[in-house]
Amino acid sequence: MSRPNKGKVFSAVLIKDLRIELRSRVLTNQVLPFAGLVMIMFAFALDNDDVLQRVAGGLIWLATLFSSLIIIQRSFAVESADHALDSLRVAGIDLAGVFFGKAIALAIKLIVLDFVLIVTAMLLYRVDLTGPGLVLLVTCVLCSATGLGFVGTLYGGLTAGAKGRETLLPLLLLPVVAPVLIAATRATEAAFASGGAQTSEGWAWVGLLAIFAAVFGVGGSLAFGPLIDE
């Protein structure tokens, strides 16, 4: 057998992860209800339309981050249940390809999650979205989800075999993704025109999200293999 190239590994892992999600329906049956509940609880806690409209962006991204922890842990639970990731490692499979496959599968799940959260916010918090705001928001979601996919896969892989991984992952991940929370919140506020913000103000934050995604995409692909091999 010749060593499979990155492209083949990427597509095989991506299809496999999405197929597992379609089978197990963890996103639809567990993560989406959890994220929806978080949004509803925020509405109960704040109980003020003006305040909710102003903070809607932050609430969407907080709910995304908390929910992403479940998705990331699930993504690696399927790998460690029967040591499947070990089999890939032992077989000399290109782990950078595995990293990109898992990260993009994770990003796709996060995009679905964000779409539901944004619709929920529009219904519950009565935020409005204009045409330019929609373009900004879609770009923001794409960049944020990709960045979170990369960093989540890197840290998910790092903690997959560790004792106490359920608590270790949020402790390691949440400080690292603080820039995503801040930038995505500001960009979303601009898209919603919360507190009189202009849509154009959001693009600089989207730029920051793109840089974050690029840094963790490159860094993660280089670090994932050695981390898993250890």
Partner: protein
């Protein structure tokens, strides 16, 4: 018959401890070789070294004609190793698990069908989720992934562990079929009687030393 494994005075250090101290042995193509010995004797270390997972500290070691000292990555891509776990995805069916590996290595549907046929995985089983299979069926599914990967050397650590009597019989049949299809099998086992009946040759591993049994 060509040599698949050749170790000459090979020393393998694991965790700063010489787990295998000066092993000299060879395995020819088409053999089924048993490694026997007590726990901690160095059997798993030897299998992991043959799979290119551990560095060779001293001596000569080649697997499938590739020098283990200089190119472990190539060896890893050409051998198949199964430990106590099967490395399968529980939410996927038998066909999807084998299909995943076939996609990784660019194998076709014919290869999947051949692997399933060789491992006795019927069409009915192919659509069953791995989580619903018996231990023996899971083992055969894992071995089918080695076939689809076209692994020429199979390294199996305690392959009979966790299987009932029928499962063990099935596995023995499976390994003989794999040998007939061109694979070389090296396995470690504590079930000496059964393993000896299966193996074409045996080595005894004790205290990191390998000798003909």
């Amino acid at each position: 018959m060509s040599e698949v494994i050749s170790f000459v005075d090979t020393v393998i250090v694991y965790d700063n401890f010489p787990a295998v101290a000066g092993a000299t042995f060879s395995v020819a193509s088409g053999e089924i070789v048993l490694l026997q010995g007590p726990n901690g004797a160095g059997k798993t270390t030897l299998l992991r070294a043959c799979a290119g997972l551990l560095p060779i500290a001293r001596g000569k070691a080649t697997v499938l004609g590739v020098d283990l000292k200089s190119d472990r990555a190539t060896v890893r891509s050409q051998v198949g190793m199964l430990g106590h776990s099967n490395g399968l995805y529980q939410d996927l069916t038998v066909a999807e698990n084998i299909g995943f590996w076939s996609r990784l290595v660019g194998a076709g549907n014919d290869d999947i069908a051949q692997a399933m046929r060789l491992m006795g995985l019927s069409e009915r089983l192919s659509e069953v989720k791995v989580s619903n299979l018996s231990a023996g069926q899971r083992r055969r599914c894992a071995l089918a992934t080695l076939i689809v990967r076209r692994a020429r050397l199979w390294l199996l650590d305690e392959p009979h562990a966790g299987l009932d009597a029928d499962g063990r019989d099935e596995l023995d049949k499976t390994l003989r079929s794999a040998r007939d299809a061109g694979a070389t099998v090296v396995f470690a086992s504590h079930e000496i009687e059964r393993a000896k009946a299966l193996a074409t040759r045996s080595f005894k591993v004790e205290g990191g030393v390998v000798g003909e049994a």
